[in-house]
Symmetry: C3
Subunit: 205 residues, 3 copies
């Protein structure tokens, strides 16, 4: 433990992690809408997940070395964990499609991916506003993310209804239920990120 | 951040949130035992879930504005989160029944709901004892909640055994497995509430 | 709250809990490789889970009574919770096998159990090194646990592929998917233990 370490800019580290997350959501939409060559596109999603692992690990390492942090350390910890979760879950959904030999995303999966992409792009705005100490739009952006999460909830619900109530092979149902669950969980964790960022603004603005 | 803000009574806020949770468990038993008009009764469950969202949000907002809290802020945060979880999960179970077009709760679902109701009513007692600084019965009440959680565990286990070992349509199995899982998770999170309250007493009594 | 209580050795309590966990992983491998008399062996697994409950409860009780702790209280709390989770999940997998009347573990389940056993034995080494303030090998041990977790991930993935892509009875699929999920979750929570221990070393070494 160094007493006067160089100042760590945690917001910059979080910004890089969110930027990586937002790029991963762009890629998810691209691969769901253009599923040709799905396996190779999945490999790129894996790279985003791996990059997320490195960025999370870096944040945790700096956090453990730093005695005083500009924002509450539990908030930094929670942000890094939730960003990592979203990437793990998106990668998990894509990987499950590979394992289950599904290479044609359903229309509901595409819609969920598009809303995740919008969420990613708003999260990028929010973290940049926080870095610029420009707090006036943070709350409305977070409300917009809550709205998107509710929309993904409804898409998930509709997808489950269609899957379980229409005549379908049970094995097909089990596979898709798994994939939808992972995408829905990714959305929940992305909303957590917005809630933590909103909480930081409430404490510091 | 105001230096000398008006004192926030966090126990009162938690009490209101637990009271809302307990009322929701009463409603769950009512709608499971009298499933006529299930869709309209589900709407009332949704209102409890929405009220829970508002109460949680209020607690988190006050928590972010308050520098010194009478009880550890992580305990208040965890209580509000777990109360919110129980309501989300109970609403989730009911909503899944609507999505899956199931309007006749199984006898196991009814038994689980009745034990959740008892849990809700004991939680209400505990928070009121805490507010009255009357700690002598808190531990026995929390043990009673642990006992109820164990009973729900066994009901869940029996329900799964019946569902999976008796000849059943796989789609029917997938639907009910989902609903039982949500009810069992609600029970786990309700036990968490008891454990946090017990921990607060151990720290402060 | 006593001002100068006798010093609690939290590392000793954690060591006992990890030792119990490691013994439970030994037993899991034994019962998976020698599944004769599965029900009686399951009862012994239940005893490990119960012992884990008691050890976790003891740690939490001491934590609530202690004002100053040698390591961050949230780290102690998280360690005790994750150790408890691993035992709950291993017991959950075994219990689900009983409920589902499965008494012949698959080869993938055996391989996962063997990797859990190795993880348990490395965790035991790490906690003993921490107690001896011998930090030089902690990081490599934790990397080894991460490697094992990745291997369990791949085993889980392969098991799911085999289960869902080969012609199988859907009910059989649902049962085994559940069991694999519990074992995979146990592995994730075991990796969390390694990560928390590594974090403690980074903060204190």
């Amino acid at each position: 433990m160094v007493l006067f370490p160089k100042k760590i800019d945690f917001f910059e580290l979080i910004d890089r992690a969110i930027d990586n997350l937002a790029k991963a959501t762009d890629h998810l939409v691209d691969m769901f809408k253009n599923p040709a060559d799905f396996e190779n596109k999945a490999k790129i999603m894996y790279e985003f997940e791996q990059e997320g692992d490195i960025l999370t690990h870096d944040i945790m390492k700096e956090l453990n070395k730093t005695f005083l942090t500009p924002i509450d350390r539990e908030d930094i910890h929670a942000l890094a964990s939730r960003i990592d979760d979203v990437l793990d879950l998106m990668w998990g959904a894509v990987d499950r499609m590979i394992v289950y030999k599904i290479t044609k995303p359903s229309s509901e999966a595409i819609s969920i991916a598009e809303d995740l992409q919008m969420t990613g792009s708003i999260l990028r705005k929010v973290i940049r506003e926080l870095r610029a100490k420009n707090y006036s739009h943070v709350q409305e952006h977070c409300i917009e993310i809550n709205r998107l999460e509710n929309r993904i909830d409804r898409l998930y619900r509709d997808a489950l209804g269609k899957l379980l109530n229409e005549p379908n092979d049970p094995i097909h149902v089990i596979k898709w239920k798994d994939i939808y669950q992972l995408l829905e969980d990714a959305s929940d964790r992305a909303e957590d990120i917005a809630n933590i960022l909103e909480g930081i603004v409430l404490k510091h603005a």
